[in-house]
């Protein structure tokens, strides 16, 4: 148990892990400003429960961020402001791979919150399906089906990019 009214060690923890937390938050929200706000909200939740916490607070913060992101968006139906419809470049050029990646991240922001959260957990956090299910409080089957739908949507949105051709053209092993 920690002290009720003090946050000893939180400064150092945020200094060490804050960038990583913000990275996840930016991917979940789609913008830097919204990511800052999400991290701030999660930190405030941590402070509320600080006296009950023991051990590493990072797991708590990450779970809180995912729950806040999914629940908040579900109710408010708010879309990140920065995402716009994804259009492929008119002519392929040497930046195709980078453009595709950008398009995928943009398309990520158009997904429903839970699909977005699952993809961030699986492909950014590199969690297993079971670990992602534990974070979101759902079954492994739900994670599988949600990830599958999310990837299918990304595939549809970016179909025009011809992934295989792009990779071949840029010499990336497939």
């Amino acid at each position: 148990m920690r002290g009720r009214n003090t946050f000893d060690g939180l400064d150092a923890f945020v200094a060490e892990r804050g960038d990583a937390l913000l990275a996840t938050a930016v991917l979940l929200t789609g913008s830097r400003a919204a990511g800052d706000d999400l991290v701030q909200s999660a930190l405030e939740r941590l402070m509320r429960n600080w006296h009950r916490m023991s051990g590493d607070p990072e797991g708590y913060l990450r779970r809180t961020m995912y729950h806040l992101a999914v629940d908040d968006w579900r109710r408010r139906r708010r879309r990140p402001e920065v995402f716009a419809p994804t259009e492929p470049a008119p002519q392929p050029d040497g930046t195709d791979t980078l453009d595709l990646r950008g398009a995928l991240v943009q398309a990520l922001g158009t997904l429903p919150p839970r699909q977005r959260a699952v993809l961030v957990l699986r492909y950014w956090e590199q969690l297993t399906e079971a670990e992602a299910a534990a974070v979101l409080g759902c079954s492994v089957g739900t994670v599988k089906s949600t990830a599958s739908r999310g990837l299918a949507r990304l595939r549809d949105v970016t179909a025009a990019w011809a992934v295989e051709e792009t990779h071949t053209r840029n010499g990336v092993a497939s």
Binding site: A12, A15, L22, G35, L43, T64, L104
Partner: protein, 311 residues
């Protein structure tokens, strides 16, 4: 099996966030948001338990705002605290006791706090109004330069009844209202998305709770008013991290007038300043407690917070 699409998605995510760095103001803003929530909870019972407690305290220490029955050795007497005649500095304990008495005897007023955060060359400002009679409060502004600007108010629909919050979010040009059950047993509602601002009660708590860490700097003039300035310095464990806090209290009434905190970590410097005043409960002052959504803003359902026990 990992597909090309999955690999490109992972790489795209890494590129998207490669350069993001968390600003030091986020933690400070979270702390102030937390403090705001605590204040809101206190506000929830301010017209009940706390007021009674304050009254009991006043009776216990002498029945009036004059504070302690006798000043500690070395302190000036209450009658001699006029700024022009401060011949020797009062002790921190004496000032803390007087501030405690002044806060406990706050009358029927609207407390007004203007707070500024300067971080990385940018400044944000917020204003808070708090009605000591009804517990209603309103906060306008942004927690920090990187936080969204909001206008939010909280008030009981009727004395002891449901609590209604109204929030205007300027970034999304939306607003919403939310109704909470009557407050009870220390579980008051939270006005939502905390903003800047602390209260004289917080300053009192800081002074009385750790008076040994403060020193009396001396008399000082603040916007034409005679004040007593107190200061404490702190240093965190991390190398190059530390700062200072200062408090200015009126030299006659011991009302808290200003606080200023400065904190520095390697490469980051932040200043948070709050100015306090009390307004008579005139119609104009009470009007500050009401949020009016701007024309053209869209009303939306209230957001839902994650459960307290997440994790």
């Amino acid at each position: 099996m990992t597909t090309d699409l999955e690999r490109e998605l992972t790489a795209g995510m890494a590129e998207r966030v490669a350069s993001v760095r968390l600003g030091g103001d986020v933690l400070v803003a979270a702390a102030r948001r937390h403090r705001r929530r605590v204040v809101a909870r206190r506000a929830a019972s301010a017209t009940g338990t706390l007021t009674v407690a304050g009254a009991v305290l006043v009776v216990a220490i002498g029945g009036g705002p004059a504070g302690p029955a006798a000043p500690p050795p070395g302190a000036v007497s209450p009658g001699a605290t006029s700024p022009a005649v401060i011949a020797e500095l009062p002790t921190v304990a004496f000032v803390a006791a007087r501030v405690d008495a002044a806060v406990s005897n706050t009358g029927d007023v609207v407390q007004h706090v203007v707070s500024q955060v300067t971080f990385d060359g940018q400044t944000s400002q917020s204003e808070t109004w708090f009605d000591t009679v009804t517990g209603a409060q309103r906060i306008v502004g942004a927690d920090s330069p990187s936080s969204p600007r909001r206008d939010q108010a909280m008030a009981e629909a009727s004395p002891g009844g449901n609590v209604v919050t109204t929030v205007v979010d300027f970034a999304s040009r939306t607003w919403w209202t939310e109704t909470f059950p009557p407050r009870s047993a220390g579980e008051g509602p939270y006005v939502g998305g905390g903003l800047l601002g602390t209260t004289p009660s917080d300053v009192r708590d800081s002074l009385t709770g750790a008076s040994e860490s403060w020193t009396v700097v001396g008399p000082a003039e603040l916007d034409g008013r005679a004040t007593i300035c107190l200061r404490r310095d702190f240093k965190d464990d991390a190398p190059g991290t530390g700062g200072s806090e200062q408090i200015w209290v009126d030299a006659e009434t011991y009302d808290v007038l200003r606080t200023q905190a400065e904190k520095a970590t390697p490469g980051i410097r932040m200043t948070v300043r709050s100015d306090f005043s009390e307004l008579a409960r005139t119609p104009d002052a009470l009007a500050n407690l009401t949020v009016v959504p701007p024309a053209g803003f869209t009303r939306v359902p209230p957001p839902v917070s994650a459960p307290e026990g997440v994790g």
